[in-house]
Symmetry: C2
Subunit: 197 residues, 2 copies
């Protein structure tokens, strides 16, 4: 059992660099107003070279320039930052998604949904020939569906076998012992959607 992206010890108190979210937010505010870099530079008094770097997250703006930029947008600085944070907690970027991989089999689970979402989406990669059993006791969900993105999947729910093909979607019934298995010679990719209890 290993977790990805775990902060160790003291670092756990450290907040992750807000640079990415801020840079995206600033670009959104600028483009949604139809402004070019030069326009915003003139309005804010910040050089367009600097704004370009900030939007591409190549520089971390100082409080001073953040104040000038938010002023140009007509927003209080705290609101600009709040918008950035909101986006951050609603948008889960692919490279930031928690990932768990079994080095033995190549089985891979990726938590696609941002934390706190009501419906959790999990992308699973199941290599050819791999078999993953799930005891009924592991089910802490209210509702669960499986949708095959590519390849094919044999899914055993209790005593019934479902042979799922690409594009098929199965809604699970009450908790039962389950087995995900891929007896074919091509890898399978599927999505699990679930609501936690």
């Amino acid at each position: 059992m290993s977790t990805i992206r775990d902060d160790c010890g003291k670092a756990s108190r450290l907040q992750k660099d807000p640079g990415g979210a801020i840079s995206r937010r600033i670009r959104i505010e600028r483009e949604s107003r139809g402004w070019s870099l030069s326009d915003l530079a003139e309005q804010s008094g910040v050089s367009k070279a600097m704004i370009s770097k900030i939007e591409r997250a190549e520089a971390s703006p100082t409080a001073t320039v953040l104040g000038r930029l938010s002023g140009a947008f007509g927003l209080p600085l705290s609101v600009l930052l709040a918008l950035a944070e909101r986006e951050e907690e609603c948008l889960s970027l692919h490279d930031a998604q928690p990932l768990w991989a079994d080095p033995e089999t190549g089985y891979t689970r990726r938590a696609v949904s941002p934390p706190g979402a009501k419906v959790e989406l999990i992308e699973v990669f199941l290599p050819a020939g791999v078999r993953i059993p799930y005891p009924a006791a592991a089910f802490a969900f209210q509702h669960q569906q499986i949708w095959v993105i590519s390849g094919a999947l044999d899914f055993t729910e209790g005593s019934t076998l479902h042979q799922l093909q690409e594009g098929d979607c199965l809604m699970l019934g009450p908790p039962a012992d389950c087995v995900f298995s891929n007896p074919h010679n091509a890898a399978a990719r599927y999505l699990v959607a679930l609501t936690r209890r």
Copy 2:
């Protein structure tokens, strides 16, 4: 008629540097937790030398270090900034208070209260021998009091003369022609408290 602190032209869109408010806020958050500079430095990963500069507004922190500091406080960055802004709009620093001075007489009015306050406090400096008449039409207040801070003041309300000494406080009645005058040989300093209509 002249106004102090008027931004000219394009600069009117520029927001004033949030550095002062941020620096005060950070010091408050740190001290209210009983943390030393070293403590916060350890918690946040920002050098204590830098924190010292930030708190004394000698440096404008980057988004990166602001993120680390707010993380150490356990606050979202936007909340930290919102607290700073709130303080900014509730606290009116002496040197930032709008001031009007009559170059001829030396009569001086200073708006002490932050903008938006329900009760407006005005500090007045009335040099010796100066006389300032106020027509009743100029009254757009619901309520008004005059408190003499130092020196003495002859205040005429309609036809009645009030000879106010240091420490005296007068509540005004319905609108009437008024005169502030200082017939003594020492300057007078008094406070006017009023609620706008």
